[in-house]
């Protein structure tokens, strides 16, 4: 059922619209995602914990929700903002409407606002903390105080909300040759696990608190460090453990937050970006092979300060803003990537990156 809803930003700007989903105050960092397809994957991506997602594409919900495309079991995002909310989905795989999913997951959505205007604000002024709320049930003051309570994204750790607390094995590998992979879960996307499994990974998903010692005990062929939400700078313990893992002499592959943690382990700097990268059309330049990949992206932090280093090198850069997208160690089989080679949603062409991981584990 529709209801009157409002979006309030920390800078006082507010939008009135129509609410869908669960009637509560949803507070988080408002970001925008420019992907046209894949709202189901985006909503269920654990990396969005603590954030409210603005979809720039104006029709959301068209294909409903199916049972196959989730990236995790739940919606981690704190709310969503759309231009037109579709309550009559059409797709042969659709099992329920987006509205029903939001209700089940207790997530609020605001629609019918000028999302392009909002996007311009976020682009020009940077991401803002904001709150979506049913305007009949909550006052602007209540929303504002929730925003203040939420405070800044700096130093926030959402990983406990999204990662496993106990190790588990992720299904049987689908190839003859098997590789033992220790995947540290900071909020891992399901499709990463699917790909690892498909390519022959005998994957053990491990909690974010896993130590290098525990990993060593598993005797893996390779270590995988996953994506995840929030500010990487607070993950000092994880960074420390990754430093230790780097002594284990097995290939390490990190994606997104995993990439940032590895970078911190190298002693690199992490900077918060103005509005980050969230979309499925970002060109990434592969410097070694001089190729361009169109990639899926979702991050608000970027690695900096590789230039004067001799032990590591930049392998990939964003063609949008020149930011670092990939780093590798010059001697050891360590490499990491900022964007999402597992796609889902987004272009699948960067999946080739996983091949290197398997080649190195094979070596």
């Amino acid at each position: 059922m529709k209801f009157a809803a409002k979006l309030l930003l920390e800078n006082g700007i507010s939008f009135e619209g129509i609410g869908f989903g669960f009637k509560k105050i949803g507070v988080g960092e408002v970001v925008f995602n420019t992907a046209i397809t894949g709202y189901q994957e985006i909503l269920t991506d654990p990396s969005y914990d603590g954030q409210i997602i603005t979809f720039t594409y104006p029709h959301i919900g068209n294909t409903g929700i199916n049972f196959e495309d989730n990236e995790s079991k739940k919606i981690s995002a704190r709310g969503l903002i759309v231009k037109n909310f579709c309550d009559f989905p059409s797709n042969y795989r659709s099992k329920m409407s987006l509205e029903k999913f939001l209700l089940e997951q207790k997530v609020i959505c605001i629609s019918d606002i000028d999302t392009r205007h909002l996007t311009r604000i976020l682009r020009d002024e940077g991401c803002k903390i904001g709150a979506i709320y049913p305007s009949k049930y909550f006052t602007d003051e209540e929303a504002d105080s929730e925003i203040k309570k939420f405070g800044s994204m700096d130093g926030k750790n959402f990983i406990e909300n999204v990662a496993v607390s106990k190790s588990y094995a992720y299904g049987a590998p689908e190839t003859k040759k098997k590789f033992k992979i220790a995947a540290v879960d900071f909020g891992i996307k399901e499709n990463i696990l699917r790909i690892l499994k498909q390519m022959g990974g005998d994957v053990t998903v491990m909690p974010p608190t896993t130590t290098a010692e525990e990993i060593a005990a598993l005797k893996p062929d390779g270590i995988f460090l996953s994506n995840g939400p929030g500010d990487p700078k607070v993950l000092t313990k994880a960074v420390y453990e990754v430093k230790q893992m780097m002594k284990l002499e097995v290939p390490i592959f990190g994606i997104c937050l995993g990439h940032q943690i590895m970078s911190l382990a190298y002693g690199l700097k992490i900077e918060k970006m103005t509005f980050g990268h969230h979309g499925a059309n970002h060109p990434v330049h592969d410097l070694k092979n001089n190729l361009v990949f169109i990639t899926s992206q979702n991050h608000n932090f970027a690695v900096a300060g590789v230039d004067d280093r001799e032990d590591i090198a930049i392998t990939h850069k964003s063609l949008f803003d020149g930011s670092i997208q990939g780093i590798e160690h010059n001697e050891k089989p360590f490499y990491s990537i900022q964007c999402h080679p597992e796609a889902s949603p987004g272009p699948k062409e960067f999946e080739v990156l996983f091949e290197r991981f398997f080649e190195d584990m094979n070596a």
């Binding site: 992907a35 594409y57 104006p58 231009k83 797709n91 392009r116 020009d124 060109p283 796609a343 889902s344």
Partner: protein, 1066 residues
């Protein structure tokens, strides 16, 4: 990798005349390619026979050949210009086919010309269905179950295998010509026979029918490093079974999950790689089973296409320009994305934050004999596009851009039509299926019932149903009771003021006033290819009802140019050419130029042609909102044909300044009474005429005037419903079946000037002086619509003294009519007397042709005059005299419409035109015919059958033909006229005179050319089979005696003596 340095000169092949399936989108892409390559230092040689294009403007290429686009001509030009490379991918199917022919004949190799952008193998793989099928199998991609037939025998075998219904497509034909869906054996045989005839390779692809499957297109660009991007996805609202060109489509695809979208994306790249498209743009078409998601590849085009033009306009990503640069060695990451001011590279995928809807425009009313059901053969002649922040808004904006009298999802079901009619319209669609769907909902059909009948995805059906439900609410309200938020919500869904007014049964003005009172206005948003992720200052804008406005109105002096809307017969690319020239002229004078247009195929909607582009419907409501926001110095209406002219009255009422010729002059010229008075001061007669408000009036008028007469409804475009009447029975048939005569719809009955010479004169007047742009002589006699006549510049059979006198009179007319800018006059000369047929104080269809003839852009000069320059200031007080002959020839869509008579008359039927240039009339005419895709035979048998009035010319004509070596065949009656001459005639039966008759002779390939003139409904009907079988057997046919003489002149010159000169050298 930077561009290639080993190439210096590049030959670009244009697409020739506008035909169904190949319209001005190739002018847009070709122009972009020429500009991009020249900017990069290449010498560009261009061949295109279509003078109405921007690309053939002398400034666009280094050497421009307005010559027939065929391999013979291209070989001559290659010999002369010695290009290093040929770019075949910008000229549609024509460009591709001709380039392939040049390769196959070894001509490219002989002259060391490299094919860039696509190679022979890739073209073959994509176009040859058998090879294509194999490629897809190699990739593990599914194609429809199918088979290839090279004979009827093959066809029957395949039929056994795949059953009915099935889709039949002839190979290598344009816009799917000759293709169709067969539901029964009779249709199967008919379509196969016809297709075998039409396919140049005598090949048919017969496919399992996927009727009702969802249809998608992906626009792909690839560079030589194998970087691939999708520029845009397109979803067809009309499911499989209707040609994409005839389907209502949306961008981006609306009903795909990311998984399905990525599957198509990956498949598209694989297809490009396998087919071998190394660089450039291509499109890949898919069908998807709505029940299982099974994906099937339908086809791919290894070139820029209609869809890529649409994708470029839909996203702002210039596919043709990028494709041209990739062809010379650049890679995507080296190119900048212009629309973000170069902030991002071209190697990304555009993302959009709006919805684009394209609706095709048809002209079935001009071909009443043809079946107006939509099939896999394209039949539309133009299209509109509209942008909105939701589907409903973009859809309803597109509807009102169509200029077909509909301002929304108006009910079109007749009172007496029931569910049966709806069912039929839903399952065998015509051009208005979505309107019938709306009517089905109005009549209470359920979602499922509608879906089962039409197979349109329920997402779209819900959108339509929602509009219908809102309409019900509106219809039950009173204007003053509609609250601000409610009205806003209607406007957000794209309801026009006019539609709301219709529903409330009040006038549009009241709704507008009420809306203004509530202060509800649209804002303007930018098309930026990145969904606002990056700041962009490119002024490519659209309106929507939201909060934040992105279009900053400057305080500069600015002018709005109104475009010409969708292409249709009677209003085509010529007017877009004029609009572009106007924009260029104003920008040269440092005036901020604002373009408004709704046609995605055009150059005028290229965002860098003007300072600001509003991609909007050209109707009062939307134009007023732009004017309100921009507050321009004035509006220019004289270049876009009828579309902007229709708005003049509204502009005047609202105090909006019209630049150039004042509206009162337009009125004088269009109002018959006023014009009659006006003309009394001049040395012009007018064909005698009467206005009839009743059938009795009309009969009386004919009695007074005597036959033959021309009849026409009072307000017409392109001669709609105009007819030449010779007999009482023709007249009563017309009055009862064609004309809907009434006091509001009076009929003009005009004495027809038999045997008159008709002239078109275009002039520019600055208020004082008048410049004669040129005088064109129609080759066909009066009575044939000027748009359908071939014409010659300069006139080839009118004396200088007469011409001089005529020009003097016309100059005076222009001055007295207060023309500022362009004026066109149509004059007939009969018995040394001048008759004024009509005067149009605006740009005419002949402006681009004439401009090419005289090497000076008349529309540009006129634009400068409009903003106050005198002809003297511009150094243009003397008429520019031609240095050679040029002939304009029309091109007809008769082969797309089965059962249509290819006879010419007062109603315009041509879709495009070509230009032939030469030292003499004969050469120019011959080239024009060749450019139009026909071959005048230089030997063999000619069949003559002419109307009585033409018989006096027959001895001369036939004698000349005989001297050229032709054997003359004639019907008994016609032969009589040759009895006392040296002409040896073989008599042949008319169809009604028993067999063997002329049609038998045609079928037996005994006839090479036909000269068939006729008059009167009955004799036209009797001789129909001659013309139709000539058309179907590619036998050269002319339906006028003057056409016959022109052929003789052309043959006397001889093809071997033709010369080829670029525009720039003359």
């Amino acid at each position: 990798m930077p561009k290639r340095e080993d190439i210096k000169t590049i030959l670009i092949v244009g697409s020739g005349p506008i035909v169904i399936g190949q319209a001005c989108e190739f002018d847009y892409s070709g122009t972009q390619a020429c500009k991009a390559l020249r900017d990069n230092g290449y010498r560009v040689v261009l061949v295109n026979s279509n003078p109405a294009t921007i690309m053939t403007d002398p400034e666009i290429a280094d050497a421009t050949y307005i010559e027939p686009v065929d391999w013979q001509t291209l070989e001559k030009i290659i010999e002369k210009e010695k290009p290093d490379a040929i770019l075949p991918t910008m000229g549609g199917q024509t460009g591709l086919n001709v380039s392939l022919e040049l390769a196959k004949r070894g001509i490219l190799e002989k002259h060391s010309v490299e094919m860039i952008g696509a190679n022979r193998e890739a073209i073959d793989n994509a176009e040859d269905r058998e090879k294509f099928d194999k490629c897809m199998k190699d990739l593990g991609l599914e194609t429809p179950r199918s088979g290839f037939a090279h004979s009827m025998e093959d066809a029957w075998k395949i039929h056994k295998d795949i059953g009915l219904p099935c889709v039949i497509r002839p190979s290598f034909t344009l816009g799917g010509t000759g293709g169709g869906i067969a539901y029964n054996l009779k249709e199967f045989e008919e379509i196969c026979m016809n297709g075998l005839k039409l396919s140049p390779t005598k090949e048919l692809l017969i496919d399992e029918s996927l009727v009702g499957w969802k249809e998608f297109e992906m626009e792909v660009v690839r560079d030589k490093n194998d970087n691939c991007i999708i520029v845009c996805s397109i979803e067809n609202i009309d499911p499989m079974g209707v040609h994409t060109g005839d389907s209502i489509t949306v961008a981006p695809a609306q009903t795909l999950t990311d998984k399905e979208y990525q599957e198509m994306r990956e498949a598209s790249f694989k297809v490009l790689r396998r087919i071998g498209v190394e660089t450039g743009g291509s499109n890949v078409q898919f069908a998807q089973d709505p029940k299982t998601g099974r994906l099937v590849v339908i086809e791919m085009n290894p070139r820029v296409s209609r869809s890529s033009a649409l994708a470029s306009k839909a996203t702002g990503f210039p596919i043709a320009k990028v494709a041209a640069l990739l062809a010379v060695g650049y890679t995507l990451d080296e190119l900048k994305n212009d629309i973000t001011d170069g902030k991002t590279p071209a190697s990304f995928e555009p993302t959009i934050d709006y919805v684009v809807t394209k609706i095709p425009r048809f002209n079935f009313e001009k071909f009443p004999e043809t079946d107006s059901r939509l099939t896999t053969q394209m039949k539309s002649v133009g299209e509109v596009m509209a942008i909105g922040r939701n589907f409903q808004e973009s859809f309803q904006k597109a509807i009102r851009s169509m200029e077909n009298g509909l301002n929304g999802l108006s009910s079109i079901l007749k009172e007496n039509e029931g569910n049966g009619a709806i069912k039929l319209e839903l399952s065998t669609p015509g051009e208005k299926r979505l309107w019938y769907i709306a009517d089905a909902f109005r009549r209470g059909w359920s979602m499922d019932e509608v879906f089962v009948s039409c197979k349109v995805d329920s997402w779209f059906l819900h959108q339509i149903k929602d509009i219908v439900e809102d309409e019900k609410i509106i219809a039950n309200s009173n204007l003053e009771q509609i609250e601000t938020d409610t009205l806003k919500s209607y406007k957000k869904k794209g309801f026009s003021d006019a539609r709301i007014a219709d529903l409330l049964k009040i006038n549009e003005q009241s709704v507008r006033e009420y809306r203004y009172k509530l202060n509800i206005h649209p804002v303007f948003k930018r098309v930026d290819s990145c969904a606002a992720e990056f700041d962009s200052t490119t002024n490519y804008l659209y309106s929507t009802y939201e909060e934040f406005n992105e279009s900053e109105a400057s305080s500069n002096k600015k002018i709005i140019v109104l475009g010409s809307g969708p292409n249709r017969i009677g209003q085509g690319i010529e007017f877009d050419y004029c609009c572009v020239q106007a924009a260029l002229a104003f920008r040269e004078e440092n005036i901020e130029t604002i373009m408004i247009n709704s046609n995605p195929e055009t150059v005028s909607t290229d965002f860098d042609v003007s300072d600001k582009l509003y991609f909007e419907p050209i109707v009062a409501e939307d134009v007023f909102e732009i004017i309100r926001h921009e507050n321009p110095h004035g509006v220019v209406v004289q270049f876009g044909g009828q579309t902007p002219l229709k708005l003049t009255e509204e502009f005047e009422k609202n105090g909006i300044k019209i630049l150039g010729t004042p509206p009162s002059s337009i009125d004088t010229a269009e109002n018959r009474e006023k014009f009659k008075t006006f003309l009394s001061d001049f040395n012009f007669l007018q064909p005698e005429n009467r206005i009839a408000q009743t059938i009795e009036d009309a009969k009386k008028a004919v009695e007074e005037l005597s036959y033959p007469v021309i009849v026409r409804p009072s307000y017409v475009l392109g001669g709609r419903a105009m007819e030449l009447i010779y007999t009482d029975s023709d007249l009563s048939n017309y009055l009862t079946n064609v004309a809907n005569i009434s006091a509001e719809n009076p009929l003009l009955v005009e004495k027809f000037l038999d045997d008159a010479v008709e002239l078109d004169i275009d002039v520019i007047c600055d208020g004082e002086k008048t410049l004669i742009g040129g005088v064109l002589q129609h080759i066909e006699e009066a009575g044939i619509h000027s748009g359908d006549s071939s014409c010659s510049f300069p006139p080839y059979s009118v004396g200088d003294t007469q011409l001089h006198a005529l020009k003097k009179e016309i100059k005076a007319v222009a001055k007295k009519l207060n023309v500022i800018g362009l004026m066109n006059a149509q004059v007939a000369i009969k018995d040394d007397k001048f008759y004024m047929i009509e005067v149009n104080p605006r740009a005419s269809r002949t402006i681009p042709f004439l401009s090419k003839c005289i090497g000076n852009s008349l529309a540009k000069i006129a634009s400068k005059v409009i903003i106050g320059k005198s002809l003297e200031d511009l150094g243009l007080d003397a008429e520019i005299m031609p240095t050679n002959y040029a002939v304009k020839a029309p091109v007809f869509p008769f082969n797309k419409f089965r059962k249509v008579d290819p006879i010419l008359g007062p109603e315009m039927k041509s879709t495009g035109e070509v230009m032939g240039r030469g030292d003499c009339f004969g050469e120019a005419f011959g080239k024009a015919i060749k450019g139009a895709g026909e071959d005048i035979p230089n030997q063999g048998s000619v069949f003559v059958s002419v109307k009585d009035n033409d018989k006096k010319y027959l001895p001369d004509l036939c004698f000349k033909l005989q001297r050229l070596g032709f054997q003359i065949f004639a019907t008994k009656g016609t032969a009589k006229a040759l009895k006392d001459t040296d002409v040896k005639v073989k008599i042949i039966n008319k169809v009604l005179e028993g067999r063997p008759h002329i049609v038998d002779a045609i079928l037996n390939e005994e006839i090479d050319m036909i000269i068939n003139t006729t008059e009167g409904r009955q004799s036209i009907k009797d001789s129909f089979s001659i013309r139709r079988s000539a058309l179907e057997h590619n036998i050269f046919l002319t339906t006028t005696i003057s056409g016959g003489f022109a052929i003789v002149e052309s043959l006397e010159k001889g093809v071997e003596n033709w010369g080829y000169k670029p525009l720039q050298s003359s």
